[in-house]
Symmetry: C2
Subunit: 527 residues, 2 copies
């Protein structure tokens, strides 16, 4: 069988000395998809890095508006291939075609590309800063090397390495991208890369602006993220893989942005349950089962005070978990990984309330599962009881008193999100005021009375958080322009002659509307 | 002899089980200073970290304005101890009392503290962002752990670990600081810590807001930067020490900001030399000898085109190097380290034009030294020929043609600064346009017709640069508010009830003048 081509240096060509091949699995039918993809060896990676560096050089004289043109052309190309993308992604991921793929994730993806285009065009991400007294001017600009993007399996569109958030941010910041497809959806990624490459040609960007490989042996991956020609890496995936890549990149002094794992604690304070327990159980269960629970922001960890209302909450959630059919998981490894995480929790005192078993008469699947454990047991073994079970699995931790609610928060690892539900009339406010300052430090995004599953593409979003949910607490992977800073460097111009300055630092405002920080004020005026 | 006390948990007390002791040397007299300081063991470090965490918790409910009060009180206390500080720093560093210590570096230090206070008070560094459509709001806020600051030896005031730029940035961002004194000036650091601690008490901040240890064995240092209770580390010093600390911090997922080494390339284009060679030779020589050449931004690397004007430049600089007395170096190791770097350059083809020897009839000192090497030799051995000689040492690289000027730039490591001098009438512009895009990617701050030695405390400053000049290309160690971001984390508030929001994210502008990014516009208005 002929292997699918990789995209390197502006050519769709066979992998050079591949280290093997693989096929994606259809999670619904548990059968292999027809296309076979190469595992790229060091030869492909080296060729891609060299080609990307040519793009880096060429990009130094290409205006931001042209990059914006590309992102917009790419978004339009995606829309022209929507049927093909939805069908391929459905087959590779088992995510529902409607509304999920076609009406939610695809528009989110094109929207991100267009927002990134707007940020490039308006210079909003560059943070142009001018100090007239000293005539020093600064801005963020592109890195001096390619950005490598590793996409996760759970969002074949919105976090795709050849079309998703990291891709959009890296390109809009002026960097070429080497996409490493998620091996769960190589076909989807190929279609995106084809659409992107057509847009590259149509808008006259460097031919190696976008490149694609599908998979590498681990050591080739470490070479990739630590190579002298790499600017930075964006990775979304498992903690295990992320930390290995981080070790390689760190050693070489190469920035790497990781989004690794999160169980997203949710506190239901007693007044909230007293007020609206049925509603909250339904809200929680719905959020936890969304996308078969395979969200980075899935609320997998619930904290409750031991009392009758909490029991009612647990029973309410259990009832919904029992009633709703189990979803199809993204990968063959899904059911086993979930079973392992549940077994680990059980070894440390957790009991299954509902679910707990693989579903074998369908695609890859696992029962919606609710567990419970005492606060005492949790604080004795906080590490195993924070295992991420990537599916519709929730662990309810029952604190024996208010102090233990805090003690539990103290033992939490870094998470992307943390939510607190409290009484609408203020009955929980004293307790909220004790918990919030502590929980706040453990999470990137704090929510009130809202499930964390939705991650709005907003300038105020933080889809990031303290280690080990990500690799660095000051960066977000979602939300433009903030997410672009990850793929930028700070450049200062000291006494540089005015005609030599980049447009956003010249006296005249380059668009008439660019916001610039001039002498301590944000302004749109010319100098 | 009684050891000097450390400042831990709000007490000046003896080190717990010290691992040894040391004395600072007076570089002018080459004799030991009278006071003896402890080498702290793990017991001190652990106690400091635990105490700092108590401060972290207390700080969650302390308003930014109170932190600003502290910084301002500290600046005033410094001014009250100016004679003592100048005298001690002079004895420990041999830097001139006037103008350097008293009239330049001390005002810079108090100015930084006051700028940091203003940034805390005005929320300028927090980057408050509000998206009204989704009701998501974000800001930078403090880390969840102490900031450890390692200061360098060359700026006993402005980069002091208990008073300098990293200290000011970390405190103003709302974090307690554990200062690790530079072992070259423990006495100066002690006076700062005393003044800081008085201000801590006077303004009612947590007693462990500022702590001080003097030195640790290496493994205790690695524990310090990688400890679970640490938020981040700021380090300014040698590449060797910096990379070891980085390895420890990286492994634990702890941010570390390093400013390590830089030779600060300066290009003199042919038209500029033709126009003003005498002036440029004087300007270069003056900058290179400033502070006995012990500046992070010392211009140690000059690129010239082989021709008669470049020879005149070299002779002009050599003449000034010969005429001016050699300065006193900061440390006992200084002359040997410089000799080693020069020997390495000589082994790879560099020739000494002037200087090259230790000065033995004074304090620690080394002759002002100018070397030259051909462009061919440089591109064959770029690594050893970029050795940092921390003193008044310059290497002139003579390119055989214009292409080689570029080839030299291609081989440069990451640097803090890079400068290009060109003809005022535009005669060099074509060549500038070839060199600049390349040099630009290798440096954090690009200068025109100006020496890099001055590092203005400006919002547009970048005292940072590509690895290995620093550890990350997107951050600056000088320039408020930008330098504060290093010691912050991003916090997003999603649907959080309005009375629970931090002041800078509430509907009402907290100062009436805080700049906030609301729905894509920077504004000072209320919501």
């Amino acid at each position: 069988m002929t292997l699918q081509p990789v995209l390197i240096a502006g050519e769709w060509r066979q992998a050079d000395s591949p280290a093997g091949s693989f096929q994606a699995m259809n999670p619904t039918t548990k059968t292999a998809m027809p296309d076979e993809y190469p595992v790229s060896s060091a030869a492909d990676v080296d060729a891609a890095l060299q080609a990307a560096y040519e793009a880096v050089v060429a990009l130094r004289s290409i205006p931001a508006s042209k990059i914006a043109d590309f992102l917009e052309a790419f978004a339009a190309n995606i829309e022209a291939h929507i049927d093909e993308l939805v069908e391929m992604a459905y087959q590779e991921s088992a995510l529902p075609r409607e509304p999920r793929l076609r009406s939610v994730e695809l528009p989110r993806t094109t929207n991100q590309l267009r927002q990134a285009a707007a940020a490039a065009r308006s210079f909003s991400w560059n943070h142009p800063t001018i100090d007239t007294k000293t005539n020093i001017r600064s801005k963020y600009g592109p890195l001096n090397g390619a950005v490598v993007v590793f996409g996760p399996n759970n969002f074949p569109f919105a976090f795709n390495s050849a079309a998703g958030g990291d891709f959009a941010a890296a390109i809009a910041a002026g960097n070429p991208v080497i996409a490493k497809a998620n091996t769960g959806h190589p076909g989807t990624t190929r279609i995106f890369a084809e659409a992107a490459f057509e847009a590259v040609k149509a808008t006259g960007l460097p031919k190696s602006m976008v490149q694609l490989i599908y998979r590498t042996p681990p050591d080739v991956g470490y070479t990739l993220v630590s190579h002298p020609l790499v600017g930075a890496t964006g990775f979304t995936g498992s903690r295990n893989a992320g930390l290995r890549l981080k070790a390689a990149a760190d050693k070489a002094g190469k920035p790497i942005y990781l989004e690794m794992s999160s169980i997203n604690p949710v506190y239901f304070l007693p007044g909230a349950l007293e007020e609206r327990v049925t509603e909250l159980a339904a809200e929680y269960a719905g959020s936890c089962m969304l996308g078969a629970g395979q969200f980075c922001t899935n609320p997998g960890f619930v904290v409750l005070l031991e009392n009758a209302q909490s029991e009612a909450f647990i029973q309410g959630v259990a009832e919904m978990f029992r009633t709703k059919p189990a979803g199809i998981l993204l990968s063959q490894r899904g059911p086993g990984d979930i079973a392992d995480a549940i077994a680990l929790m059980q070894q440390h005192g957790a009991e299954v309330v509902v679910g707990g078993k693989e579903v074998t008469d369908s695609g890859y699947s696992f029962e919606n599962t609710l567990l419970r454990v005492s606060g005492d047991a949790f604080v004795q073994n906080p590490e195993p009881l924070q295992s991420e079970a990537f599916g519709a699995v929730g662990l309810c931790v029952l604190a024996k008193n208010e102090d233990q609610l805090l003690e539990i928060a103290e033992h939490l690892e870094g998470n992307l999100t943390g939510a607190i539900y409290s009484h609408k009339g203020g009955q929980d406010d004293a307790l909220y005021n004790r918990i919030e300052p502590l929980l706040r430090t453990k999470v990137g995004r704090l929510l009130n009375d809202k499930m964390p599953t939705g991650v709005a593409v907003s300038p105020a979003m933080n889809h990031g958080g303290p280690y080990p949910s990500t690799g660095h607490p000051a960066f977000t992977a979602v939300g433009i322009p903030a997410s672009m800073i990850r793929f930028g460097a700070l450049y200062s111009y000291d006494n540089v002659r005015s005609h030599r300055l980049p447009p956003e630092l010249q006296d005249k405002n380059p668009t008439g509307q660019t916001w610039r920080f001039i002498d301590g004020e944000w302004t749109q005026r010319d100098l």
